[in-house]
Subunit: 235 residues, 2 copies
């Protein structure tokens, strides 16, 4: 059965990396000694090695080992053999390009559907949706497709931001961008604010964390969902 | 000879559409009776007709007629026959997809290089760069390529925004995103704040407007450029 945490962000303001999620991660990865880390999104362009070291430090706090997928000659085998998997944030275009280039998008979808425990943060959460088309990231790489894992029946907008009423800036707000998405696409979009996450247990998809999330459905007014909301039937 | 205005935004806060640019547009389009408008970027998903009507109202103030490219059976001919061309803002992924789908990316590059006067705003400015890879827009459509017109020898980031020092939001700042672009790409990027534009006259490329722009070169510290800066030799 599916078993995943899909988080808006890895890090809250003034906290250590993954700190707010550690109690959840102890439960999610309780049966795992070693976590396979996918560092492809490379935040700030950092190397796979640097990024993996950062993740090792965080997971050491809950006594888990971490190994980077870049250390394997055959990344598809690494996915199939992993006890647990974490895909970190960074740039979603780079991440999706690398998942396709290394031919592991399909393998990842397969093991997650079978129940390998999974943590995604930010870009690593975007890929759990039907497509990466509601990412906030710049298109700094050109992936062969925008289709992603489809672990959940909707799209994520991580780091969701409410409009700033003081702003005179004329660039589009996040809400405007998501409404534009719905001019051409029909997938529901969940605006997931920092501090929120989605828990996937078998076919049950639940909003978690201390705050509300903003749901956008095509041709409908956006709606605030309280924590604990059941998202399983979104379509 | 090339003759273009490439603007960060169509509209300043508390102003009418295109208002701040009208004196420049009278000069740019002085030899034109009719402007060909490319409405493909469809801000907010508005129709080609609605968008063209909005542009007609603005250009009526300087006594120019406007015709939308969607009204032509053969858009490539429309490009070749146009006295002047304006591409409006909206979503850059949608715009670039439509330019390729209608097979006019090449024709547009050709007539602009020969000297058809051109105005671009926001998404219509992004396409003047080497690629659309420094857009702020969501990837709500999948274009066959990110390559664009290359009218100028660098990329644009329109609606450039400085980091907000009060913010506790953990999503990437604009500067971080552009630095990530440079982890994988080498084109210079000009962060063009609202109110700034680029003037292209033959091979002379000049920063215009009342404020500075922020220049990002690969492996170098970002730099503020004063208005009037010569951008012709950027590479």
């Amino acid at each position: 059965m599916k078993n995943a945490i899909i988080a808006s962000t890895s890090t809250l303001a003034n906290e250590d990396y993954l700190q707010y999620l550690l109690p959840e991660l102890e439960l999610l990865f309780s049966q795992c000694n070693t976590i396979l880390f996918i560092p492809y999104a490379r935040p700030g362009g950092m190397s796979h090695e640097e990024y993996t070291d950062k993740v090792k430090s965080a997971f050491a706090k809950i006594n888990k080992k971490v190994v980077g997928i870049h250390e394997f000659d055959n990344p598809e085998n690494a996915i199939h053999q992993a006890e647990g998997i974490f895909t970190g944030g960074g740039n979603t275009f780079v991440l999706v390009s690398q998942l396709y280039k290394n031919k592991i998008m399909g393998a990842l979808a397969e093991v997650l559907k079978k129940g390998t425990p999974y943590l995604g943060c930010s870009a690593g959460s975007n890929i759990c949706g039907l497509s990466m088309q509601t990412t906030n990231d710049m298109p700094i790489a050109y992936p062969p497709s925008f289709q992603t894992l489809g672990l959940i029946p909707f799209n994520i907008n991580p780091h969701y931001l409410d409009p700033d009423p003081r702003s005179t800036h004329m660039g589009e707000t996040r809400e405007t961008r998501i409404k534009e998405f719905h001019a051409y696409n029909s997938a529901p979009v969940l605006g997931l604010r920092e501090g929120s996450w989605i828990e996937v247990k078998a076919d049950k998809v639940t909003l978690k964390g201390p705050i509300t999330a903003r749901l956008f459905l095509k041709n409908q007014l956006a709606e605030e969902l309280p924590t604990g909301s059941d998202l399983s039937a979104l379509k």
